[in-house]
Symmetry: C2
Subunit: 153 residues, 2 copies
C-alpha cells in the first residue's frame, strides 16, 4: 500500500469541542478556507443549498482504528459488521463525508448547519450537492442502521 | 498546511480505462479490497443497496489542479465558479466521492454499477449509504449544474 499525501483545504471553527454520538442536526459551525487558496475558490457555492464536506476524524487514535468487523457503537443488540459497512469514525484513513446545509458564504467562510465534525477538524474537500449525485434507485439498508441513526440529527 | 497521509484501502478493477465526461450510469466495475484487510471488513455491506466510494482522481496532473475559479468543463456558456462549488476532478487533493449501486459482495470484491472512477483508481474509503445521511431539507442548485449533469449517468 503506497501512501498518498493530502493537505487540509480548510478547518472547522466553532461547533462542538468534543465528539458525541447524537443530536448534530442544529449544530452550527464555520468552515474557514486556508489562506493558500484565493477567495474565488468558493465563488458560486452560495447558489447551492447544501455542501458535502470531506474531513478527517483527526482525534481518532491509531490504537482504536478498526480494520475488520465490530458491533456499531459497541452495542450488543446490533450485529457484527465490517468497518466498511458502517460509518464509525475509528476507520482506516479516518475519512468522514457529510452533507450539511449552507447558511451563508462570505469571503473565506462557509457558515453551515448540521455538520457532524468538531471544532478544529481538518477539511480535505468541499463539494456542492447536486441532486443528480444522490442515490439512483431504491435505497435498502438494515434495521440496525435505522436504529443507530434515530437521534443522530 | 501540514499534510496528512492516507493509503488506498482498495482499487477499482475493470470499467473504463480512461476518464470521460458522460454516460457512467450503466458502467460496472469491481472494488477489490487490499489484502492487508481481513475479509470481514466488508461483512454486512451486502445488506445495503448503495455504497459511497471515496477515491482519488489519480491521473489528474499537478499542473491542471485548479485552486481558484474556472468555468465547469471549460464551457463558455456556464459561469465562472470556484473549484469548491463544482465537482471537477482537477481539484485540490483530487478526492472524488460517488454513490453507486452494490451489485454483490463476495470475499474481497464489491461488484458495483454506476461508479464514475476508472480502472486502477485508488479507493480511500467505502461507506454504506443510509437514508439519514442524505440532504435534509429542500435542495437548491444552479441551472448550469443541471445542464452539466444531463447526460452524466
Amino acid at each position: 500500500m503506497s501512501s498518498l499525501s493530502v493537505s487540509p483545504v480548510a478547518h472547522v471553527r466553532g461547533g462542538r469541542a468534543a465528539p458525541e454520538d447524537d443530536n448534530w442536526g442544529g449544530e452550527r459551525a464555520v468552515i474557514l478556507l486556508e489562506e493558500t487558496f484565493p477567495q474565488d475558490a468558493l465563488f458560486g457555492l452560495g447558489a447551492f443549498s447544501h455542501a458535502e464536506i470531506v474531513f478527517q476524524f483527526h482525534l481518532a487514535p491509531d490504537a482504536k482504528i478498526e480494520t475488520g468487523a465490530r458491533r456499531p457503537r459497541g452495542n450488543p443488540d446490533w450485529p457484527l459488521v465490517g468497518i466498511f459497512a458502517q460509518c464509525g469514525k475509528n476507520r482506516p484513513n479516518r475519512i468522514g463525508v457529510t452533507v450539511c446545509r449552507i447558511v451563508s458564504v462570505s469571503g473565506r467562510e462557509i457558515a453551515v448547519e448540521g455538520l457532524d465534525a468538531i471544532d478544529g477538524t481538518p477539511v480535505l474537500d468541499i463539494k456542492p450537492v447536486m441532486r443528480e449525485f444522490l442515490p439512483r434507485g431504491d435505497i435498502r439498508q438494515p434495521d440496525w442502521s435505522r436504529e443507530l441513526m434515530k437521534d443522530y440529527w
